[in-house]
């Protein structure tokens, strides 16, 4: 019953990149690339004047990427949280809080550097609060971040007096305007964050602990991993991503507002799920999440260029989330099916 040299095992060694550790995510991500290609084809049919014209397509896609960048950064933080087996509902509210905090008259008087620093610190600090509540207060992530979601949004409204805070520091606003080599800085930030996150998840002990805790918290604990401290760090990381996104959104809007980041938690979770992140933890990839964000934004873009109302976009979004979760459940069921030895 024990096959010593199964041909399957041998072929796994030969075609390692395909059949090795990452075959399932790789196949899934190729699927998402396929979906993106499909969306371009739909675009080409719907608006050939844009999608079949090199220059206009390029500028349209840069718009898509710019729109994707802030939600993309948040999705990356969310991906870590979800891989660790948690959820962060507070991301949109943390973004709003960081945005408002960094654009008060007082903060603006210190210049762009301090504004950016304030946003990052507020984001990471609020994430730390989430982490403390969950890791040391032993609260369920759903409830803890639901509470901070409401509280952070309220605090943002209190600070701003529900008024839009115009950013008068022009050098700060330039973050959204600057295009080194013709590529918007916001897109570059997104790419840099994604690359760093990929390295963090796949090449560092931090990433390994994240997967271990989400995959089997008890096994991780019994192997001597400090689960609480790591959970704390994961939520802090998510908060930091909210701070980065706050800078991006604020610069784009040239204003801080307690209304920024509305429903971002839903979009980020949906994008992560479409990208293959398991709601139960332990599984997920940065590439998948990035593709998930791009698919969403591209669909949104198609609605815009066809001048369709945003209601349709929301309906489509709901349908896509349901489809993605269903597909994921089928996959899990397939994985659970007993595997013949050596298959």
């Amino acid at each position: 019953m024990i096959d010593v040299a199964s041909p399957a095992a041998a072929s796994a060694k030969r075609a390692g990149w395909w059949r090795g550790d990452g075959s399932e995510p790789v196949r899934r991500n190729l699927g998402l690339v396929g979906v993106l290609v499909l969306l371009y084809l739909v675009g080409a049919l719907a608006r050939p004047d844009i999608f079949l014209h090199g220059g206009r397509l390029w500028s349209n896609e840069l718009t898509v990427l710019t729109q994707a960048s802030s939600i993309g950064v948040i999705t990356i933080g969310m991906t870590f949280v979800m891989i660790s087996g948690g959820i962060d509902l507070s991301v949109g509210a943390l973004l709003a809080l960081a945005s408002v905090w960094s654009t008060t008259v007082a903060t603006q008087s210190y210049g762009p550097g301090v504004m950016i620093l304030a946003a990052l610190l507020v984001g990471a600090g609020s994430g730390l609060v989430n982490g403390i509540l969950i890791a040391y207060g032993r609260m369920v992530p759903f409830i803890a971040t639901l509470a901070t979601m409401v509280a952070a949004r309220g605090l943002a409204q209190k600070i701003s007096g529900k008024l839009t805070q115009i950013v008068k520091v022009t050098s700060f606003n330039r973050i959204a305007e600057w295009r080194p080599l013709g590529i918007p800085l916001l897109v570059i930030i997104f790419v840099v964050v994604a690359v760093l996150a990929w390295v963090l998840l796949n090449r560092t002990t931090f990433g390994r602990r994240t997967v271990a805790i989400g995959g089997n918290a008890e096994a991780a604990r019994l192997a001597g991993i400090n689960i609480r401290r790591h959970t704390l760090l994961v939520y802090t990381l998510s908060g930091l991503c909210c701070g980065i996104a706050a800078v991006m959104v604020t610069a784009q809007a040239t204003a801080g507002s307690s209304d920024h980041g509305n429903l971002y938690e839903l979009n980020a979770i949906a994008a992560a799920i479409i990208g293959g992140t398991a709601l139960t933890g332990g599984r997920g990839t940065i590439v998948g999440s990035v593709l998930g964000v791009l698919v969403f934004t591209q669909i949104y873009n198609l609605f815009i260029v066809k001048n369709l109302q945003t209601e349709y976009q929301q309906i489509a979004q709901g349908v896509i989330i349901v489809a993605a979760v269903l597909i994921q459940q089928f996959r899990v069921a397939a994985l659970r099916r007993p595997v013949p030895p050596g298959a």
Partner: protein
């Protein structure tokens, strides 16, 4: 094995007219295991029929066949004179068989009445009649001799004994004619057991049959009418009179299992002197006994185990024998720091370990292979090498960056030593057999040989779910580890395993260590005796243990 000869052993005092339930030659096979290999069982209406057998003898599988959870591969079930099959739990329930599992399947957040009528609520068009349900529940509880249990109380707020009564109430509400009880007394205190027996007697007086499973022989004598003994998935003795069959005879039917495990030879001289007095003479010093590797003193956790003291020396395998619920797994987890001790201390190499800290234990050089391999030890979807390095990837990393190539190489080296099959460390652990999954867990702690080194291994049921062939291999691995100087503390509910593998054996019963001896001074018979009845103790001591 000549089962024809073994089955036709003593027939009962009085043979009832037609049995309520008759199983003959029931066979159930799982991949790699023949769980039931020809079981015969006769249960008459109004009797308490006890089922005895060691761990792995097939009792649980038999219960599940009766409950309709498993379908037998061969054999006949005759129920009330009719040949039947139970394709589903519902079918078995409808026929009138109610099973009360050890972990009671009650819903804590529903009331007593709601639990009793769960799944068959008195109702009209989907609306539940609360009044009649509560009234019927009160009647049933009164019939069970417990009218004091309020039907409106949430089950979660009831003590264990009352929950059991509610479970039986559920069986009665379905008009069950056969009640299967799996170790009902395991969760009960002494006086509650007496109560349980009163309830059971009331039921049997009304013509209901009870299949009663317990490891405690004194209970079987008190409540049982007839006893059937299982061994290796077969009926080794049927319909013995419970009151008069001697303990020696019963244990005799349970022991001498035909599956003889191959155990590696022990080192010729005991690796470590048990009482470290004699060999130190050569050193000419009185105060230089061989210091134990692990020294547990007065360790206790209320409700689980109390005042446990033990030592493990380097290179020694110490086995703990005991039933489920005797506190052995809890003890192991407390030594490891996964549970915080309420009293006592754990020392490794003379240094006290911080209580309740797994990380302190791991850093000091302790490794554990927990009881539930899949839920407590493995990341099933992750590749083998990542499971092997789960406790060491940080140490193999450089400045926080993991080194996958080095991890794979190290994992391949260690799993190679353990002869992991298939040898590819990139395969997900999910695809491996039970024995090979266990090797992955062991490899995790062996990998540290180069780094801090694992000094002490805690093994909880290391061969659970491992097929017979792979067992011998695991035994060899564990012995080799000990020969390399690792101390091993082993827990197993399989007595032959403890006796065959360990150098020294501790017997646990109801949270206490009741006996300690060299494995060579014990046999299966003696250990089973101790585990089940504590009969080597004086009666007074036994009483003291219970109260």
């Amino acid at each position: 094995m000549d089962d024809a000869a073994t089955v036709s052993t003593p027939t009962p005092a009085v043979e009832q007219a037609a049995p309520l339930l008759r199983l003959s030659a029931v066979v159930k096979t799982f991949p790699g295991v023949r769980a039931l290999d020809g079981v015969d069982l006769d249960v008459a209406a109004g009797e308490v029929h006890c089922l005895l057998g060691q761990n792995g003898a097939g009792k649980s599988t038999l219960i599940k066949v009766l409950a309709g959870v498993h379908r037998p591969d061969a054999g006949d079930i005759v129920w009330d004179g009719q040949p039947v099959t139970f394709p589903s739990p519902q079918a078995s329930m409808r026929a009138g068989i109610a099973t009360i599992y050890q972990e009671l399947d009650l819903v804590d957040d529903l009331t007593v009445a709601e639990n009793v009528f769960l799944g068959h609520e008195p109702r009209t068009a989907g609306f539940v009649h609360r009044g009649p349900g509560a009234r019927r529940t009160r009647e049933i509880l009164a019939q069970l001799g417990h009218p004091e249990i309020p039907p409106g109380r949430l089950v979660g707020k009831l003590p264990a004994a009352a929950k059991q009564v509610v479970s039986m109430g559920r069986a009665l509400s379905r008009r069950a004619r056969l009640l299967v009880m799996d170790e009902p007394s395991a969760v009960l205190a002494h006086d509650e057991v007496a109560n349980l027996f009163r309830v059971i007697r009331g039921l049997t007086a009304g013509g209901i049959a009870v299949v009663y499973i317990s490891h405690r022989l004194e209970e079987i004598r008190e409540i049982g009418d007839r006893v059937t003994v299982l061994k290796d998935g077969r009926t080794s003795a049927a319909n013995l009179p419970a009151a008069t069959t001697s303990t020696r005879e019963l244990v005799g039917y349970m022991t001498g299992r035909s599956i003889e495990y191959v155990f590696p030879p022990r080192p010729p001289a005991p690796p470590v002197p048990q009482r470290p007095t004699e060999p130190t003479v050569s050193q000419g010093s009185v105060a230089a006994p061989v210091a134990p590797l692990l020294e547990v003193s007065g360790l206790g956790r209320s409700g689980e185990f109390a005042d446990v003291s033990l030592t493990v020396h380097s290179g020694e395998i110490v086995g703990i024998a005991g039933l489920v619920g005797s506190g052995r797994s809890e003890l192991l987890e407390t030594v490891y720091g996964a549970r915080r001790a309420h009293s006592g201390s754990v020392r490794l190499d003379g240094r006290v370990l911080r209580p309740g800290s797994v990380r302190a234990a791991v850093r000091a050089g302790i490794g554990m292979a927990p009881e539930e391999r899949k839920s407590q030890a493995l990341l099933l979807g992750e590749p083998v090498y990542r499971n092997v390095t789960l406790a060491t990837f940080g140490r193999l990393a450089r400045a926080g960056f993991t080194d996958a190539a080095r991890e794979r190489a190290e994992a391949a080296r260690v799993t190679g030593e353990l002869r992991l099959v298939p040898a590819d460390v990139r395969r997900p652990v999910r695809t491996l057999s039970g024995g090979n999954q266990q090797k992955v867990v062991l490899a995790r702690w062996l990998l540290r040989g180069g780094c801090a080194g694992t000094r002490l291994l805690l093994l909880d049921e290391p061969t659970r779910g491992v097929d017979v062939g792979a067992r011998a291999e695991l035994y060899g691995v564990i012995r080799r580890l000990a020969d390399d100087g690792v101390g091993v503390l082993l827990v197993s509910s399989e007595v032959p395993e403890v006796l065959g593998l360990a150098d020294r054996v501790l017997v646990m019963r109801e949270g206490r260590v009741i006996h300690e001896a060299a494995a060579s001074d014990l046999d299966e018979h003696a250990v089973l005796d101790l585990v089940m009845a504590g009969s080597l103790l004086s009666g007074a001591q036994a009483e003291g243990d219970l109260s």
